[in-house]
Homo-oligomer: 228 residues x 2
Amino acid sequence: QTPAAADSAAATPPPVRTRWTPKPEQILILESIFNSGMVNPPKDETVRIRKLLEKFGPVGDANVFYWFQNRRSRSRRRQRQLQAAATSASVGGGGAGFSQELMAADCYYPATFWGSSSSSGIQGNINISDTNNNNNNNNSDLINFPASVLEQSPKFFYEDSSCLQFRQPVITVFINGMSMDVSGGPMDVKAAFGGDFVVVHSSGTAVPINEYGFLLEGLKPGENYFLV
Amino acid sequence: QTPAAADSAAATPPPVRTRWTPKPEQILILESIFNSGMVNPPKDETVRIRKLLEKFGPVGDANVFYWFQNRRSRSRRRQRQLQAAATSASVGGGGAGFSQELMAADCYYPATFWGSSSSSGIQGNINISDTNNNNNNNNSDLINFPASVLEQSPKFFYEDSSCLQFRQPVITVFINGMSMDVSGGPMDVKAAFGGDFVVVHSSGTAVPINEYGFLLEGLKPGENYFLV
DNA sequence: GAGATATGAATGAACG
DNA sequence: CGTTCATTCATATCTC
């Protein structure tokens, strides 16, 4: 039953969750299975797991499947992240940021694929989602712009130190008669001027571009060009 | 679900989760990057951004990743919302070459752009994850830096002198009859003009915007536009 | 300081 | 599997 239903609104007392929200007990079970090494349960295992989980609340095979998929994916990502973090050196400030999750060991498992390669239906059953989205919540969500941000204007950069960023010289040229500052090196015409223009020098010769739309050479400071 | 309540433990032992609170300077930087068109920075870019932000306070790659993810999501939703609100406006129109395209305001775009169409490979999309390897090369012989990486409104333009600089050529156009300097590349309409306008060229055609409310292409120097 | 809002973080569900 | 989207949760921030 979709919210549509035509009839009058009002109804939506039934707290229909569009997406599965695992109960703490379910998470505990899933977590322990995962941590035991079974990070990628075959289909039949998935079904068993689902049945186990059902004792604590509605859940479908697909939910279990997705859970493991996400768990593997995110666990691995985190692993990589901090691996990389270790690689990168110091930098003072050391970041903040990351969340908890102590890092359940990501122990890989032989990997038994189920269902052959990929997808193909994960199985069609289920889902809790029986529907609906509902929600009458109307949240307004207007924009926003950190007003406070605009106020405090700071002077940024002025001190650099570790930022190997190469910067390209900015030169001043005349485009269609107007003075303009542009990158001194080869540039992406479309990105810079907003369209696939042919840049023509005042002498009448067009500035050559490569197959990607980049100027092969930078413009010459103080010269006049036209966008055609 | 509240962490409490669960008899047995849940999956979040550490109840104290302090969240990153970006400094005004950091927000300004992030906003300018986003508004410049880089709405979905690849992993390496994310790292660079994080390093830049670190000058103003502790921050991790994950924070940057989440920031862009949330920014895209919320910007997109907002855009969708007001597009829906505008749907009621006459749509088809047929012919008169004028009003017709006023509402063509929303042409979806692939999503990761900023290299503009063809930039050669800088873009890719990855995220925090990335794995590995790859990236071998880096000898770009062409690209240097996405030209579209920049700064957006000429007003704030911290001509700094250090690293990473986001700046795009500024062009002069006429908006509602007034001469005005704007970013030459794709820009965030709302951020630039202060409202969700449809930018109409003097020829009567509307300048297309993407799902985030960004102009797909920059304005043309010296041309006349109207905000509707 | 309770309620409303802005927004960082987390995660289920897809897609390719 | 990596990536991305849509929601949801939780907290920082602001207001009266």
